[in-house]
């Protein structure tokens, strides 16, 4: 919502483009079946389209709006998401515009009691978190979509019906130019928390609704404070409720405040009430200068998800599949991981390179990630918004003791988004091999991205297929050379990295590790082997060569049967 006199897209800092409706060829009877249709062009739908395009697969991308989202909404981009944008070749505008951060402060009744310090190994390429308004996320992705000949973007196009149709899906589309049918092999539902496709298919999200409601409001002001997460418990400006403050680009500050139980939502979101409450909060944090109200919305914490993210040939990605509380910034970031996870698998299937069975791993992997989020989010939500008297008493006791005692302080940790470990996945068949390693990323974990001596980072050298890493000080054995050949025959996108002093013959790439830091990050002794998936999670690792297991693992990830 915006202040009186300003329309939905009348922003203080962002120029909304208005996209025209194209006349779809199907309206004029030129119909052909599409491999993939994506419903919803938010950050998740756009990321799915760009992932498919990265592998050469065309898609039609539909959105019922005429432009990007109306407000800043999901403002925190996690490191793992920056890696996804990097895989898609679109990370640069994000780096240029977003505000990176890793620290936070929590206050109880005006006194700081907790310093958040998110893990940031000095060698990593990206910071743990970046703040950026959602419209910019959408704009940057859309710029790449406009440049892609493989993505047919159709604004002002609403999906009004869906039915199974002879081994495919038939969508009914309404647009200002007319109604038409669109046939697809696969449909991705990226149409958000109130997914129309979900209700059209008779599916329901299941889980818990929490009582706590938050107003989220953006103000524009000159305010001198670093890019950190500020959490105010029991502040004078919002007694009985919590306040969160985040800095965004363009002098925009996000103020989230919890409503009291007796406040009615309709009254709370009146402009007058927003201005009064925000003014009190700004006064408490010491802002004395002018400020302008930009946009606001209301939000309540839920942990809801679908039983299965797949319904036949329809896949649910992002908020259509799961709704999580905002406190751990996992909504956008998990949605992006959904889109990328499904994207590379579906691309391989659509190209005929992989068996359809590869798609079976999508729902278990990403539902597992959401359930993991719930476990953490439930804890942080209970702390931010205690659901019962018992939780409130325990929370307030912990907060008041935190002022003078160290032991309860970490209860205020928001447990921000961490990439999920696919250790139990079908695509991770040998997790037991972890036992041979003293540390390093376990099977299913996201690979670390250490800096190399030449200033590049390790994962800069990974490709779009599987990445094999052999840690070898001396020359490769004939068995290792044969393994590279066998993997290359399985995966034409294979990247083989030989780490250490061994050197490499094409197609393998030699990566120097003179000080051993790279081997140390992976706890890799001489002869250790890592195999990474296209999303750079560890598919498997072996302390010693085990060609059969490595080929089996690659076959699972690529959806190909071994001869």
């Amino acid at each position: 919502m915006r202040p009186a006199g300003r329309s939905t897209y009348d922003s203080l800092y962002f120029d909304y483009p208005l996209f025209a409706a194209k006349r779809a060829p199907e309206i004029d009877g030129i119909a052909r079946r599409r491999q993939v249709v994506i419903v919803g062009a938010g950050p998740i739908g756009m990321t799915a389209a760009l992932t498919l395009a990265r592998y050469g697969v065309a898609s039609v991308l539909l959105d019922n709006k005429e432009t990007f989202n109306d407000g800043s909404r999901a403002t925190c981009i996690a490191r793992a998401s920056m890696h996804i944008f990097e895989r898609l070749g679109v990370v640069k505008p994000f780096i240029d515009k977003a505000l990176g951060w890793r620290f936070g402060r929590s206050y109880y009744k005006g006194r700081q009691f907790f310093r958040l310090d998110m893990p940031h190994p000095a060698h990593e390429k990206y910071l743990p978190m970046y703040n950026l308004q959602q419209q910019y996320v959408e704009k940057f992705l859309h710029d790449a979509i406009t440049a892609s000949p493989l993505i047919d973007m159709r604004w002002l196009s609403e999906c009004t019906g869906i039915a199974s149709e002879s081994g495919g899906v038939r969508l009914e589309i309404a647009s200002p130019e007319g109604a038409y049918q669109l046939d697809a092999d696969y449909v991705l539902a990226a149409d958000g928390a109130r997914s129309t496709l979900r209700s059209q298919l008779g599916l329901r999200l299941k889980g818990e609704n929490y009582e706590g409601r938050y107003v989220i409001a953006d103000v524009q002001m000159d305010h001198d404070f670093p890019t950190e997460r500020r959490a105010l418990f029991e502040p004078e400006s919002n007694p009985g409720g919590t306040v969160l403050i985040h800095r965004q680009p363009d002098n925009i500050w996000r103020v989230d405040y919890q409503l009291r139980d007796n406040e009615r939502a309709e009254e709370a979101i009146s402009e007058e009430n927003i201005r009064t409450r925000v003014a009190a909060i700004l006064e408490e944090i010491g802002h004395t200068g002018p400020w302008a109200l930009e946009w606001w919305s209301i939000y309540s914490a839920n942990t809801l998800l679908l039983d299965d993210y797949r319904q036949g040939r329809v896949f649910f990605i992002g908020d259509s599949a799961h709704i999580v509380p905002i406190f751990g910034v996992r909504g956008l970031n998990n949605g992006l991981a959904d889109a990328h996870n499904l994207g590379w698998k579906l691309a391989l299937v659509a190209r005929g390179e992989a068996d359809e069975g590869l798609l079976d791993s999508y729902s278990p992997e990403r539902r597992g990630a959401t359930l993991d989020v719930f476990a953490n989010a439930t804890k942080s939500t209970r702390f931010m918004t205690p659901p019962t008297r018992g939780w409130r008493l325990a929370r307030d006791a912990a907060l008041s003791l935190s002022l003078d005692h160290e032991f309860p302080r970490a209860l205020a940790n928001p447990r921000q988004m961490q990439p999920y470990t696919y250790g139990a996945s079908e695509l991770t068949p040998y997790p037991g091999r972890d036992r041979a390693f003293a540390g390093g990323p376990v099977c299913g974990a996201a690979a670390p991205n250490p800096r190399l001596a030449d200033g590049t980072h390790l994962l800069d050298h990974a490709g779009d297929g599987m990445t094999l890493m052999i840690f070898r000080q001396r020359g490769l054995s004939s068995e290792e050379a044969a393994l590279i050949g066998a993997l290359a025959a399985l995966d034409r996108r294979l990247t083989a990295l030989i780490i250490g002093g061994a050197g490499a013959d094409a197609p393998a790439i030699a990566i120097a590790d003179a000080d051993g830091a790279l081997s140390a990050s992976f706890s890799a002794c001489d002869g250790a082997i890592y195999l990474l998936r296209p999303d750079l999670h560890v598919a498997g690792r072996w302390a010693n060569l085990s060609s059969d297991e490595i080929l089996t693992t690659a076959g699972r990830c690529l959806g190909v049967a071994l001869s």
Partner: protein, 68 residues
Amino acid sequence: MTTMPFDEMEAAYELLATAIDRAGPDAEALFLTRLALLLAHDTGELSRFQNAVEAALAGITEGGAAKP
């Protein structure tokens, strides 16, 4: 005295929150007082209990800083 690992501290926090709810609003003060007496007995050391009582009182002013 040993320091409780954070995971256990967190589990204790969650156990306490749910136990207060189980006691119900009419009996929560009685429950918390009984709990304190049991823990005092468990410590087996009056001075430690005295320190904990003082630490818990600290900062609770008229009206109650920790009062919900």
